[in-house]
C-alpha cells in the first residue's frame, strides 16, 4: 500500500503547484491595485488620507501573515460570513501584499526628485496626468528590485495556506511524504518546483531593469 515516489506523486505535487501560482498571481494583482491606491494616499497632500494609509500599512506590516489569514478564514464565520478557503486565502494574501507594496511604492514615489513634480505642474499637468505620465513611470523603475524581491517572498509565503488546509505545493508535498515515507525526495522536489516558479520572476526583473536603465 505504501508507494515509492514516482510519476503519479510528481503529478500530485504539480497539481498543488497550480494553486501556489494562482494564489500568488491573484494576490499580486489585487494586492498591487490596492497597494497602489494606498501608496498614492500615503504620498498625497491630504493629511487624513496620509494618516489612514499610514495606519493601514502599519497594521499589515506589523502583524504576521499567518494571523491575517486566520482572522479572515476562521474569524469571518464567527460574525456570520462563511468564506470559501481559496477566497479567504486570496483575500488575506492580497491585503498582506497591499500593505508591503504600498510601502515599497511610497518610498519609490518619494524618491522621484521633487523637481519632476514641480516641472510637471509648471507645464499645467493635473494630478492624474502628473502621476501617470511623470512620477509613476520613474517610481516604477526605482521600485523594481524591491517589488520583485517581495513577489518572490509572496510566492513562498503562500505555503502558509497549507496550515489552513489548502492542498497547495507545500501541503501536496506533506501528503505525498506521508504516503511514500520518502520525505527527502519529496521535499527536494517541492523545493525545486518553488525554485522553478521564482526563477523566471527574477530573470524577467533583471532584464526589465537593464532595459529601463538603458532607456532612462
Amino acid at each position: 500500500m505504501i508507494r515509492t515516489f514516482g510519476f503519479p506523486e510528481l503529478l500530485f505535487i504539480l497539481d498543488g503547484a497550480k494553486w501556489t501560482v494562482l494564489m500568488s498571481l491573484a494576490a499580486f494583482l489585487f494586492g498591487g491595485l490596492l497597494g497602489l491606491l494606498v501608496a498614492l494616499a500615503r504620498t498625497s497632500k491630504i493629511r487624513p488620507a496620509r494618516f489612514l494609509a499610514l495606519c493601514y500599512i502599519q497594521l499589515f506590516q506589523g502583524t504576521p501573515l499567518l494571523i491575517q489569514l486566520f482572522i479572515v478564514y476562521f474569524g469571518l464565520p464567527i460574525i456570520g460570513i462563511r468564506v470559501e478557503l481559496w477566497l479567504a486565502l486570496i483575500t488575506g494574501l492580497s491585503l498582506h501584499a497591499s500593505g508591503f507594496l504600498a510601502e515599497i511604492w511610497r518610498g519609490s514615489i518619494q524618491a522621484v526628485p521633487e523637481g519632476q513634480t514641480e516641472a510637471a505642474r509648471a507645464l499645467g499637468l493635473g494630478y492624474i496626468s502628473r502621476m501617470r505620465d511623470v512620477v509613476l513611470p520613474q517610481a516604477f523603475r526605482i521600485s523594481l528590485p524591491a517589488t520583485v524581491g517581495f513577489m518572490v517572498n509572496l510566492v513562498k509565503g503562500t505555503a502558509l495556506a497549507a496550515l489552513l488546509g489548502l492542498t497547495e505545493l507545500t501541503r501536496a508535498g506533506q501528503l505525498m511524504s506521508n504516503i511514500t515515507f520518502e520525505p527527502l525526495k519529496v521535499y527536494a522536489t517541492v523545493g525545486l518546483v518553488y525554485f522553478a516558479i521564482c526563477l523566471p520572476l527574477t530573470l524577467v526583473s533583471s532584464r526589465l531593469e537593464r532595459r529601463l536603465n538603458a532607456r532612462g
Binding site: M1, I2, R82, G165
Partner: protein, 275 residues
Amino acid sequence: MCITTGFKKIVAGALMATTFMASAALAITPDELREKGKAVIGVQMDQFPWGFIDEAGKNEGFDIDVAKLIAADLGVEPEFFRITGQNRIPSLTTGQVDFLVPSMTVTAERAQVIQFVLPYSSNNITVWARTDAEITKNEDLGGYVIGVNRGSAFEPILSDAAPQGTEIRGYEDDATTVQALLSGQVDAIVGSKTYGIVIQNTGRGDGYEAKYKVADNIQAMAVRKGDQEMLDYLNDFVTRHDAELDELYLKWIGQDRADLPTELPGVDFTGKAGN
C-alpha cells in the same frame, strides 16, 4: 528547530483563540444535510492507513470508508474537506465542515471545545525501536533519544510516560517521525501501532520491532457542541454499524477492532451533561 517550535506555538495560540471565539450558532441537523444532499466531512489525509491520497490523487483509507458509509446511511453525497492536525478543531467550530471523521484521539481537553461521538476505532500507542534497544517499560525510555509526531496526541502521552530528563525530539508528521527512526536520528519513536506497516514496507522491518504498548488511543468522530441531533444520529450510527466497522478496520489496519469504551473520564458522549 527553535524557530519552528516558536512558530508552532504561534499557530497553536492563534488556533486556540479562534476556537474559543467561535460560537455554536452554526448548528446543523441530519435533516438539513439530507435537504442539501451533501455533507462536508473533515478528514485527515496525512495519516496512513487511516487517511491518505491514492495514486489517482483521490482520498482513501479507513476514515474515508467510514465517512462514505455515514454518507450512504444519511442518503447524501460526501464532500471531503482535507483537514490538518492543527486546524481540525477550528475547522469544525467555525462551521467549515459539518462534522469530523478524523483519526483523532479522544481527550478530556478536546472534549471541552468539541463534542465527541462514541468511539469508533482505537489504535494502541506503541514504542517502536531498533531490535537491540533494551526498552520494555516507561522507565527504560530515559536512556534513549525518543522521537514523536509533534502536536499529535502521542506527544503529551510520551511526556507523561518518559522519566524526567528524557531527550524527546518532535517531528512534523508521521512520515518524518518514522524517517527519524530509520535514519538513526532517534533510538525509538512513540506513536501508532500502524507505524509497523510503514516500517515493514521500507524493507528494513527486520531491524526494528514494537517494544510495548504505552497507552490506549481511543478515536472518535466529532460534531460541534450543541449539535444534539447530529450527535444522536452519529452515536446511533456507530452502534448500528458495529459489524461493518469491524470489517473496515480489519481491511485497513490488518487486525481485529478492539472492544471500545462507551465512557471515558472527563468526556461526555451524550452531549447532555454540561447543558
